[in-house]
Symmetry: C2
Subunit: 228 residues, 2 copies
């Protein structure tokens, strides 16, 4: 049997990164938590190994995490996204898949987390696609999962819409989404649609502030084969 493909979660010490790491590790995946601070990566990995009762979570500096995996998930605040991708450009392996969960919240500059910035490329994911080396496929997903719920133990009650121009990469991201208990994965088409996924996060943040919850979305009305 081949060694399973590890998942490198870049900027993975924040709540979104640890939540995904926890869920995927429990599902049997091998995880590398990347951070700019190797000490912090190690400590977070140790904590997550205990929480997930697994040995298959390690920590590494972001470039080392890229070197060790061709399946990358980016979970950084928008204000760190571009600088990190520029730094990692030499480290990202040709043919890698980068799953981007970045949302350009207005709070990155000034203002509310329930508003987004307008980006020339249309979305943070499309901006990422401009910054990665040629031949790396960018897929947008996981924007709309509550980090707090991901870090808990209950199944989620959310769908993950995946947008990306590379059908195989899109399919791989959907398979990862479906490994999170309670999550259904839906092909949302081209990467340009990521802008809507990102906007939905801002809407959910606004709903959370207003109604004191941990909002997510379900897509209704599609045939069963759409949720695969």
């Amino acid at each position: 049997m081949p060694e399973p493909r590890p998942i490198a979660i870049l900027g993975g010490t924040g709540p979104a990164g640890t939540g995904l790491a926890l869920r995927w590790a429990r599902a049997g995946e091998t995880i590398i938590i990347g951070s700019r601070d190797p000490q912090r990566a190690q400590e977070t990995a140790e904590k997550m190994r205990q929480r997930a009762s697994t040995t298959k979570i390690s920590g590494a500096e972001n470039p080392a995490a890229c070197a060790a995996s061709d399946l990358l998930v980016l979970t950084v605040p928008f204000e760190g996204q571009a600088a990190l991708l520029k730094q990692l450009k030499p480290a990202i392996r040709p043919g890698s898949i980068l799953i981007d969960a970045t949302v350009a919240l207005a709070a990155s500059v000034v203002g509310r987390a329930s508003r987004t910035l307008g980006l020339w490329q249309g979305s943070a994911a499309q901006q990422a696609a401009e910054l990665v080396p040629k031949g790396v496929s960018v897929v947008a997903a996981f924007h709309n999962l509550s980090a707090e719920l991901l870090n808990g133990d209950d199944p989620l009650d959310c769908d993950v819409i995946v947008c990306g121009d590379d059908a195989e990469a899109n399919q791989i991201a959907r398979a990862l989404a479906a490994r999170i208990p309670g999550v259904r994965a839906i092909d949302g088409g081209k990467l340009e649609n990521a802008r809507i996924l990102e906007q939905i996060t801002a809407l959910l943040i606004g709903l959370n502030l207003r109604h004191k919850g941990h909002g997510g979305i379900r897509i209704t009305g599609l045939p069963p084969q759409a949720y695969k």
Copy 2:
């Protein structure tokens, strides 16, 4: 007992208008279907009276519908929205509520219905708010309900997020949403958030084309009192 407040559905002979008319009429509301063509309004009203087994649906020219009601619902394609509101400005009664369901789909100009236009005001609803007489409250809602499902007989499996700056108008729109079987109404905050509701429609149209369905959304993870 006071006469119940009729609902005037402006541009109401299309599928979104007839679907809302059907559901509200069945719930006991009095409906005026507005159209630029009085003949068409009458014919649609007659057809809807039969479908809903009620006498409480009438048809009128759009300005007459405005004159007869202070609770207005706008269900026109984006390309007709501004011209209709300019025409109706003298007819809209002071203190009216206008519930806008318009989505600025790119297909209004050229291109795909899964893309939206960028509007200076931020959304079609905010554009509407610039075009109505002073003192008229614009609320954004009902963008994300499938017209085909609305025109059917089964309960819907969708939430309606309502955005508007006037708390009372927002509440009235939520009460109307909740009269549609299966629909839960959620306060989505300020009118500026309408842009996200409108984008979600484009996403759902894309999902419908891709997966052959009648997509809608549910918001999960909010406390029960959020759905009122």
